[in-house]
């Protein structure tokens, strides 16, 4: 009598895997990477490489020698993704050892202390980024100008970011239009900033790809972008903008500069640190949008996407209490 394998149903699987999802996110990030290399030259290549190697290396060392796990989790590519995202949140000309410190904090503190993939409360790349922002404020906010391939790694020539200009203008009034980059440049990525966040177009392409391949759902990016847009529009309607900045332009600059697109499509949608249900995701996104605009308008920093996402990360266990609608559940009166 031949005995076959016995296991409970189902006996079929979609073929989806953790690795596949991570790989698709990495793929979706590539357009922005191409723009970063074109704008910032070899610095973008070097910084990303250091970050990825440091993140993967850190994960391997921690799981091998501290957690003493037999299973190797490098293959799921989540550390590669964290490394890439961390690099996207750094200026391309930052010193290599700062990147390494960021990677150690991201993976070591942000991820592995909680028990590895799936267990961490906060987005690891952002934990690393915010640690660096607080520890190395000068290096972290000295962005190279987009000069194309001629830009040398560690090029120190820098300029004020559009967000800093906008913040000043909204606070103090005065003329601003001639100091801002054109909207076209802001959309296409010809502006200063962290290496991965400058090109809104590339990030939107990647984000739409992720939604179409069902890696992420629309709820988080749409609710973040809508909230930011609404807040910016309200600022204009209340007459708080300088005379030479229209409401429409302010909305566009708010969305296309800084970390909104990178954050909305790639950072806030991190599976582990975002809510599980549709309503939870929507509230999560609105919360991020509100916090980022509060920081941008009144906070000490010109940009607050990292802080906004981290703060909302902390709310996720609470947001998971929003149940999905059960089958047959009567509509609440």
């Amino acid at each position: 009598m031949k005995n076959f394998i016995v296991a409970p149903a189902p006996h079929a699987h979609s073929g989806d895997s953790v690795r596949r999802n991570m790989l698709l996110v990495i793929l979706a990030l590539l357009p922005a990477y191409v723009v970063a290399v074109l704008q910032f030259g070899c610095g973008a290549l070097i910084t990303a490489a250091i970050s990825i190697v440091a993140c993967v290396g850190c994960e391997w060392l921690v799981s091998r020698f501290i957690l003493k796990e037999n299973r190797n989790t490098i293959g799921d590519l989540s550390a590669v993704l964290t490394g890439l995202l961390l690099a996207y949140n750094l200026p391309s000309n930052i010193e290599w050892w700062i990147v390494v410190i960021g990677a150690i904090v991201a993976i070591g503190v942000g991820k592995m202390t909680f028990g590895g993939l799936g267990q961490n409360l906060f987005n690891p790349a952002l934990v690393g980024r915010v640690f660096l922002l607080i520890s190395f404020p000068v290096q972290m906010t000295t962005w190279p100008l987009p000069k194309g391939m001629e830009t040398a790694y560690l090029d120190a020539e820098t300029g004020a970011t559009p967000l800093a200009l906008l913040k000043q203008a909204v606070k103090n009034g005065g003329r601003i239009a001639d100091q801002l980059p054109s909207l076209h440049d802001a959309f296409m990525g010809a502006i200063g900033g962290s290496m991965g966040e400058v090109c809104a177009l590339a990030l939107i392409i990647g984000g739409v790809f992720l939604i179409c391949t069902r890696v992420i759902t629309w709820h988080i990016p749409v609710s973040i972008i809508a909230t930011v847009a609404l807040w910016a529009a309200a600022t204009g309607w209340l007459g708080l903008l300088p005379a030479d900045l229209t409401t429409g332009n302010y909305v566009a600059y708010s969305l296309c500069t800084g970390g909104i697109m990178l954050g909305a499509f790639f950072m806030a949608t991190d599976y582990v640190t975002s809510p599980m249900t549709a309503w939870g995701k929507l509230i999560f996104g609105v919360g991020i949008g509100v916090i980022v605009m509060v920081i941008r308008t009144w906070g000490a920093y010109p940009e607050g996407m990292s802080f906004a996402i981290l703060i909302m990360n902390a709310c996720v266990p609470l947001l998971n209490k929003f149940r999905p609608k059960r089958f047959g559940e009567p509509k609440k009166a």
Partner: protein, 450 residues
């Protein structure tokens, strides 16, 4: 095109192997083993004794309670043994062993293929006949059909929903039955409408069976109060609650029966059996089953008398393929893996035999939950499988109950979709059993307190 409104997944339907294969009759076995548990509810009680001579269609065992079903003899011959058998799923059940002698049918059965349209019986007589024939839901659950036709007091059926969805991948027996016996199914529908006192029937068919939709629509156009509803392909559309939602947009509340929203659901194979029982006096003694798999030599749809060893049917399909890893009784989503194929009799609940090769049979190593929420999106009951599984690990039955574990329909969408290959249902299923036991205890205690 309509479908149900919450969750669902899209497994590859893999019906190409056995689709459109004509229904082939499986030869009679030398010995038939007839289990007395082929339905949900109490085991049937044997009414024959060892040594008795039986004809095809004679009663072997009568229903052992209100929720139970008669079992008629699928063969003619001599009863040689009445005793326990262990099936390939590991369950030990009472069974009747018959040495087959010829093929002598009970004389009141009409074995001709003539269509009999007219049914002059009263609803009560129809239901009695269905009960006598031992008909159970052939879609997989095997719930006794006559029980469904007797709504509890105060409830009234409004619509008969006919399940021609066959959402399980690979299986094609219902599809082929609609293609070959559509007329009989239409008459069966009219009989059930009469029994229920409803004037509307909806046949739900997924649109991967375009020829069946076309054929049934053409037949329905000649009928009064029967419509065909093509449905968008999505698993588990054949689930009773999902099908009702898809067809009439009503959701059966948690813990309630379809009759709560005025619906009664029956599978096409069940309805064909109703036709044969009511119009031809033929009890349920056989069913069409699909034998299939990527490496099966002659995948097809076979008409098999209950009690026939499945090895006989498998032989017709070319034998067990080399490198078979799993043999599934039923489809890949909800079917049960069998330990072996020897001495396993065909029965009312076996809608198919599926062979998966060794590679398909392996479960990948589970990884950490990455909290992607895909199981929540996939669950057709709107549950949170990741959470239920975690609560099971914590043995927190109270929270499991609060998170509606009893609503789980075992469809497997969560496991199918999980990128981390977590065995969610392996925890939810026993958790549901445990919570169910607690609920029954509580109800018993409450009844005792009164």
């Amino acid at each position: 095109m309509k479908t149900f409104n919450i969750g669902g997944v899209h497994p590859h339907d893999n019906k190409q192997f056995s689709a459109h294969q004509p229904i082939t009759e499986c030869p009679l076995p030398k010995q038939a083993i007839i289990p007395l548990v082929q339905h949900i509810g109490a085991p049937a009680q044997a009414v024959v004794e060892v040594g008795a001579k039986v004809k095809v269609g004679e009663l072997l065992a009568k229903a052992g309670g209100f929720v139970s079903a008669n079992i008629a003899s699928p063969v003619s011959g001599t009863v040689t043994k009445i005793g326990d058998m262990t099936d390939a799923w590991g369950a030990t059940v009472p069974a009747i062993y018959i040495d087959v002698e010829g093929d002598v049918w009970s004389p009141d059965i009409d074995r001709s293929t003539n269509l009999i349209h007219q049914c002059t019986l009263e609803p009560k007589a129809i239901i009695d006949k269905i009960a006598a024939a031992g008909i159970v839901g052939l879609g997989g659950a095997c719930f006794p059909t006559h029980v469904k036709l007797l709504p509890p007091p105060g409830k009234k059926a409004e619509v008969l929903i006919v399940n021609g969805v066959e959402c399980e991948p690979y299986l094609t027996c219902d599809h082929q039955l609609m293609m070959e016996h559509g007329e009989e199914i239409m008459i069966g529908i009219q009989i059930l409408k009469k029994a229920l006192g409803v004037d509307r029937a909806i046949i739900g068919i997924e649109n991967n069976k375009k020829d069946a939709i076309e054929r049934m629509t053409r037949l329905a156009n000649t009928q009064f109060g029967v419509e065909v509803m093509p449905l968008k392909l999505k698993y588990p559309q054949g689930g009773e609650k999902q099908l009702i939602d898809a067809c009439i947009g009503r959701q059966v509340p948690s813990g309630a029966l379809p009759i709560e929203v005025g619906a009664v659901v029956d599978n096409v194979a069940t309805i064909y059996a109703v036709y044969e029982a009511v119009q031809k006096n033929k009890p349920l003694i056989s069913r069409v089953m699909t034998v299939t798999g990527k490496h099966v030599e002659k995948p097809g749809n076979y008409l098999v008398r209950f009690g026939t060893p499945i090895d006989d049917v498998i032989a017709l399909a070319g034998g067990v393929p080399a490198h078979t890893g799993k043999v599934i009784g039923g489809g890949p989503m909800m079917g049960r893996a069998m330990d072996h194929t020897e001495n396993m009799p065909a029965n009312k609940r076996l809608s198919g035999i599926l062979f998966l090769d060794e590679a398909e049979s392996q479960r990948p190593e589970p990884e950490n939950c990455i909290r992607c929420g895909k199981c929540v999106q996939a669950c057709p009951m709107g549950l949170e499988p990741y959470l239920l599984h975690r609560l099971f690990e914590l043995e927190n039955w109270e929270e499991m109950e609060k998170h509606d574990v009893m609503d789980c329909i075992d469809c497997g969408c969560c496991v199918f979709t999980c990128p981390a290959h977590r065995p969610l249902l392996d925890g939810i299923r026993p958790g549901k059993a445990k919570v169910g036991a607690i609920l029954r205890e509580r109800a018993a205690a409450a009844a005792a307190a009164k």
